[in-house]
Symmetry: C2
Subunit: 158 residues, 2 copies
DNA sequence: TTGCACTATGTCGAAAATCGTATTATAGTA
DNA sequence: TACTATAATACGATTTTCGACATAGTGCAA
């Protein structure tokens, strides 16, 4: 069975898509009718475009929680060096770990970059000792504490 | 003039707040009427709570763009070591830089952790040579290329 | 070029959600 | 207990969303 693709004719983002992104990146609940008026198309078009953008994974309309306000007082970045043949297993183990909210494959001395959110330094040390260091295949780790976020932009489309 | 504070009686997040966060973190456009029904309160209550949470900086309802789909094919993390007395100036210079979407003060060998988004390796090298390395007060940098995002969770509230 | 198939956009009315005002309830405090 | 300020509710007017259908536009192949 042939899968049907949305936006099969025009796979790239066009001006309307960027208009939608610019409108929604600062306020995910902006009414489609307003965006439509600004861009000179109908609400239906905006509705379909937004659905497509989301289906493609180009746009996510989400609520971002301030970790500190939600009790996650300790945030750290952990670099992980992995034995090459165990990479998939290590990634799988890390992916299943609730404390970890981000895993990136990177260049350099460490193959993996992760970000962890925990409520306290005690919880961080428990995480390191009881979970991270028990995963087979990890040869080295580097913990970088996040002391203060100085700049954070989700709306980077200009 | 005395400033009036929202949520002055109950500054912490309560069950309704967490219910709202859980509902919205995966879909920022979920109707307040639905959340209200689920939590057993009125739509107006949800509306007011969401406004308060946003005003407090506890919750942001935003559109997150996939950088690659928007043409930012190269993403890198750059660690920056800074002369202590120049830290504020360096941070100010980095903050004004459009390529940088995240700056974090960290522990360790490097005081600053940044994330940059550019369209190509050429643009990255131009950024490094023409912008970053021209900022006075930077003693050392470490560029880590992001090869692949393996896990990314914005909805980390359980 | 013309016609075909498919996708995108537009039209529009019903249903749902939002918004603002006024009212009631609740918690903290004197 | 009464007072004050905040929080929640009630509710109708307005706006938005949604879905079914119609129209327009594009790529492709005869």
């Amino acid at each position: 069975m042939e899968e049907t693709f949305r936006r099969s004719l025009y796979p790239d983002l066009d001006d309307i898509d960027y208009g939608i992104i610019r409108a929604l990146q600062g306020n995910a609940r902006l009414p489609f009718t307003q965006i439509a008026k600004d861009l000179g198309v109908t609400e239906k078009t905006i509705r379909m475009r937004v659905q497509q953008l989301q289906d493609e994974g180009a746009l996510s309309l989400v609520g971002i929680v301030n970790p500190v306000k939600a009790g996650f007082h300790v945030q750290a970045m952990i670099q992980v060096a992995v034995d090459a043949e165990k990479l998939d297993d290590v990634v799988a183990a890390l992916t299943d770990t609730v404390e970890i909210r981000l895993i990136v494959l990177t260049s350099g001395e460490y193959q993996l970059f992760t970000q962890v959110l925990v409520t306290s330094n005690e919880e961080l040390s428990q995480f390191l000792l009881k979970k991270l260091h028990k995963i087979p295949g990890i040869s080295k780790t580097n913990v970088i504490n996040e002391l203060k976020i100085l700049k954070s932009k989700y709306n980077f489309i200009r």
